[in-house]
């Protein structure tokens, strides 16, 4: 008599694996539906955890943060498209934001009260329909050099200085297929030099022995240990190394650097719209802005250039010329240009 019971037990175990989800599910689902004040927050920012904690403390609204790199975040949001779970998303780069806005995935027309604190830079970056809100900017790429290897007088001043024989085999940058901020850097150069001129610049760099690494961290490592003398990557990571007393100096070429805005946006179908709106307003307010600058908790992302009058920058970027790249223009070429870069510069 026991054998059928066991077999049935085995079958039940099998089904149980699937049903186990359903068992605990209704409670989980109902808790987020009926108790309105839970914010589901997807982010790729270093300061997201501190911001979530500060908001939760200030308002009592529970924040459930899903933090990951920008790539997986975009994949997750895209895979959820038919039934999005998130209330708020926050990452660097307005290309994906503007394309999500066009697809109607983002809430438009909301004007948080703290929007009044936007400075001129903030106002210039805010889209007319308020589909997403800039929260700070960094440079997608500036030149960093190793001060032990390059004297101040020999330091590169412009992009094309990196093509000189002095920097042969001694310049590095990130791979745009791995590193998020690198495509905006390339797009900015293409805008500055024209597409042909930009291709020529990177081909010349390649012929001068350009080294490609995967992300900011690895490129910085190579710069510090002297594998390369100069590098192009996100300026917040460069400035962070400088603050940590690493032998690094940062150069902003006078022709300008590409502005990389960090944007926050609300889901058009946000499960908890009220919490989402309060959160975005909180981030733009004084406490939210100060939390973003808690560098001990957030790391290099805290070194952004503020877009509100609520805080002063942690590092000075005085005199930097910012180039704004149209997200729709860059976005429509992203796939082709990254492929070109992989085929002609990486190899």
């Amino acid at each position: 008599m026991r054998q059928p019971l066991i077999a049935a037990g085995a079958l039940l175990t099998g089904i149980g694996f699937l049903v186990a989800g359903c068992g605990s599910a209704p409670s989980a689902a109902s808790s987020s539906v009926h108790k309105p004040q839970v914010l589901i927050f997807y982010s790729a920012q270093g300061y997201d955890a501190s911001e979530a904690a500060a908001f939760q403390k200030a308002t009592g609204i529970k924040v459930e943060l899903s933090d990951m790199s920008t790539g997986p975040l975009l994949a997750k949001v895209a895979a959820e498209q038919s039934n999005p779970k998130w209330d708020v998303i926050w990452f660097d780069g307005n290309g994906p934001m503007s394309s999500m806005a066009q697809a109607g995935q983002l809430l438009t027309g909301y004007s948080p009260a703290n929007m009044s604190h936007y400075n001129a830079l903030g106002k210039s970056l805010l889209p007319k329909n308020h589909a997403y809100f800039p929260t700070g900017v960094t440079a997608a790429g500036a030149i960093a050099y190793n001060t032990h290897l390059v004297s101040k007088s020999q330091a590169p001043k412009t992009w094309t200085d990196l093509l000189s024989p002095e920097f042969r085999g001694a310049v590095g940058m990130n791979n745009p297929a791995v590193s998020g901020p690198t495509f905006p850097l390339i797009a900015g150069i293409f805008q500055q030099f024209g597409v042909r001129g930009g291709e020529k610049f990177f081909t010349d760099l390649h012929n001068n022995g350009l080294k490609i690494y995967d992300t900011n961290g690895v490129t910085l490592q190579a710069l510090l240990d002297g594998t390369i003398k100069a590098a192009l990557f996100q300026d917040s990571a460069e400035l962070n190394a400088k603050l940590a007393h690493d032998p690094v100096s940062v150069v902003y070429p006078p022709s300008g650097v590409t502005m990389l805005p960090s944007d926050i946006a609300i889901n058009a179908k946000a499960p908890d719209m009220q919490a989402a709106k309060e959160f975005v307003n909180f981030v733009l307010g004084q406490q939210g802005q100060k939390t973003m600058q808690d560098i001990g908790a957030a790391g290099s992302d805290s070194l952004f250039q503020p877009v509100t009058n609520e805080v002063k920058p942690l590092v000075s970027r005085q005199g930097v010329k910012w180039n704004v790249v149209s997200p729709t223009w860059a976005g429509s070429h992203e796939s082709a240009w990254v492929t070109w870069f992989e085929d002609n510069v990486v190899r």
């Binding site: 054998q3 079958l11 459930e64 994949a75 038919s82 490592q221 990571a237």
Partner: protein
């Protein structure tokens, strides 16, 4: 649908109807349970993504069943993706051969000889399995850095040699050979003295015993291990994104990530590329099945004496030193660079010159807000997923031993092919399935349940491979005899199958557990918001350029997990030792010279 005569049900117990129920449900229930588990955990979620190679708009709003080959076309039109695909296949095949050789050698030394320090060496094998792939990849990267310490010492020889496709292969083989070690060691564990005696009595010399008896019995496990390595190379991302990139050697996983990380996300091309990997492993399996043929591999039977260990004699010391050196290179070198980084104050980590060592990162590690609870959480996921995964593995392996038809064969092949699918693809498949109309009503997506299921799905293919291989060694006669004597399914399991494979269970459990602890891509996509796992919180630190802190977290959790692994590894050793004295070696001296190595 009459009672199956082969089950040997003793007659006259209950009516015909009851007997049908007993036998029919016993076999069919097991078979059904196995099918439900494999379909639900692996097949459906993967198909939810893979089908988008042909139906790119299936999960759009509104959904469309329109068939289009745009994904496959864009894959074929992308020279980068094609090169990457070919590179991956060649690399996977070469790595499988090298890792199998390393695995067979280590398994031989650890399982069949009297090499000293077995527990230590096994500990390294486990550490390699447990260590997160991003840790190893990063360690090798720092090591090979042309400006780094080794470059200064060796004048760039190591860099030139290893920053090449061959170097990538060596690094991958050093990381993956433990899969082969485990598979082969399990098979060797089943080898008994009796087959050796029989061969020796029939006049075979030691060489012939090896060639004609022992090697053929180990071969299926060797090929199974090689197959896992082959599939594992195809799905590896850690090395593909670091070392292979620096060596200008694009790989398929990398091109899949590229199509998933651009915006709008190209799921269709990622699906097409993943299908290519699945097809490659399917073909490899067909080849393996053809090579292994339809022979029987039963090596464990009642009264079978454990093989007496082969004495290495005077070479014991040098061989141990060699094995230790090998393990130190495979694990110690890449892990050592992270260890050093964890003691450096610099924001960048690595070998910054003239840096003073500090414990600041370790102090900070205890105060990380986002990491709080992440280690304990991953530990819990590991315990639950490994234990449930073990139960699922037992059900599947038993069902497939008893019932063999086209469906089990297809599921079996698909399950192994699934190893080749990169983690991010499996994770995305889980989102598509559990967030799809019909499934989303269950509300499981976004809860720990779906993440735990995905963890089980990630480990299941290995576990089933290894356990099926071991169960195949149990002679049908032993089980049938038990059945004839009235033993029921649970009793057969309890008294025959579970005890005979005790060491295999512990190993497979540990392997499942280790696979969960530092898992990154699936965790990133599926962890319930607000409850990050260990790898997620470590990567959060690395992303913020806090390398020293990330390194400190990695070192602390690897140490904690490693000591747990060493504990279980010691248990396995003890289980092995306890088994041996219970079957005393025969007085005859045939034993010790029976399988002498030379």
């Amino acid at each position: 649908m009459a009672a199956n005569p082969s089950t040997g049900e003793p007659p006259g117990r209950g009516t015909a109807v009851r007997r049908w129920w007993r036998v029919g449900v016993g076999e069919k229930g097991l078979f059904l349970a196995a099918a439900v588990i494999v379909l639900g955990l692996v097949v459906l979620p993967l198909c939810a993504l893979l089908v988008q190679a042909f139906m790119p708009h299936l999960f759009n709003v509104p959904a469309s069943l329109g068939v289009s080959l745009s994904g496959i076309k864009s894959l074929l039109a992308d020279p980068y993706a094609l090169t990457a695909g070919v590179n991956s296949l060649v690399l996977a095949a070469a790595t499988a051969v090298l890792a199998s050789a390393l695995g067979a050698l280590t398994a031989y030394l650890l399982q069949m000889t009297d090499i000293p320090g077995k527990r230590l060496l096994w500990g390294f094998v486990w550490l390699l399995l447990i260590a997160p792939s991003f840790l190893l990849a990063q360690g090798w990267e720092i090591l090979l850095d042309p400006g780094g310490l080794t470059h200064a010492l060796l004048g760039g020889i190591l860099t030139r040699v290893l920053l090449s496709p061959a170097g990538v292969m060596v690094v991958l083989a050093l990381k993956l050979f433990p899969y082969s070690t485990l598979a082969v060691a399990s098979a060797m564990d089943g080898l008994g003295q009796d087959v050796v005696h029989a061969a020796r009595l029939s006049g075979a010399g030691p060489g012939v015993v090896w060639r004609r008896v022992l090697l053929p019995l180990i071969l299926p496990a060797l090929m199974a291990g090689g197959l896992i390595v082959f599939a594992e190379v195809l799905s590896d991302f850690g090395i593909a994104a670091t070392l292979a990139q620096t060596a200008n050697f694009p790989l398929a996983t990398f091109s899949i990530y590229t199509s998933l990380e651009q915006f709008p996300v190209n799921f269709s091309q990622a699906a097409a590329a993943s299908l290519m990997l699945v097809a490659a492993v399917t073909l490899a399996q067909v080849f393996q099945r053809y090579m292994s043929g339809r022979r029987a591999y039963t090596t464990r039977w009642g009264g079978n004496r454990a093989l007496a260990p082969i004495s290495l004699g005077r070479r014991r010391g040098p061989i141990f030193a060699g094995a230790l050196l090998f393990m130190l290179i495979a694990f110690g070198v890449p892990a050592g660079t992270t260890l050093i980084a964890s003691f450096l104050p610099s924001g960048a980590g690595g070998f910054a010159p003239h840096a003073q060592l500090t414990l600041a990162n370790y102090r900070a590690a205890f105060a990380v807000s986002y990491g709080a609870g992440a280690f304990g959480r991953s530990l819990e996921y590991g315990l639950v997923a490994a234990s449930l995964g073990m139960a699922a593995t037992l059900i599947i392996s038993l069902a497939w031993r008893r019932t063999s038809n086209w469906l089990t064969l297809m599921l079996q092949i698909f399950l192994t092919s699934a190893i080749a699918v990169p983690g991010i693809v499996l994770g995305a498949g889980y989102i598509f399935l559990w967030n799809a109309p019909g499934f989303r009503g269950l509300g499981a997506y976004g809860t720990p349940v779906v993440l735990a299921l995905a963890y089980m799905a990630g480990g299941l293919p290995y576990a089933v491979r290894v356990v099926s291989g071991s169960i195949a060694q149990i002679p049908g006669g032993a089980v049938n005899a038990a059945r004839m004597s009235g033993a029921r399914l649970l009793e057969q399991m309890r008294f025959i199958i579970v005890p005979m494979l005790k060491e295999t269970w512990l190993r497979v459990w540990l392997m499942l557990f280790a696979g969960v602890l530092f898992e990154l891509p699936v965790s990133q996509l599926l962890y319930p918001p607000g409850s990050p796992t260990l790898a997620v919180s470590i990567v959060h630190q690395f992303n913020g350029q806090q390398f020293g802190l990330g390194a400190a977290l990695t070192v602390m959790s690897t140490a904690a997990a490693g000591s747990a692994a060493l504990g279980v590894s010691a248990l396995i050793q003890r289980a092995g030792r306890r088994r041996r004295p219970s079957r005393p070696a025969p007085a005859s001296d045939l034993t010790s010279e029976g399988v002498q190595a030379s």
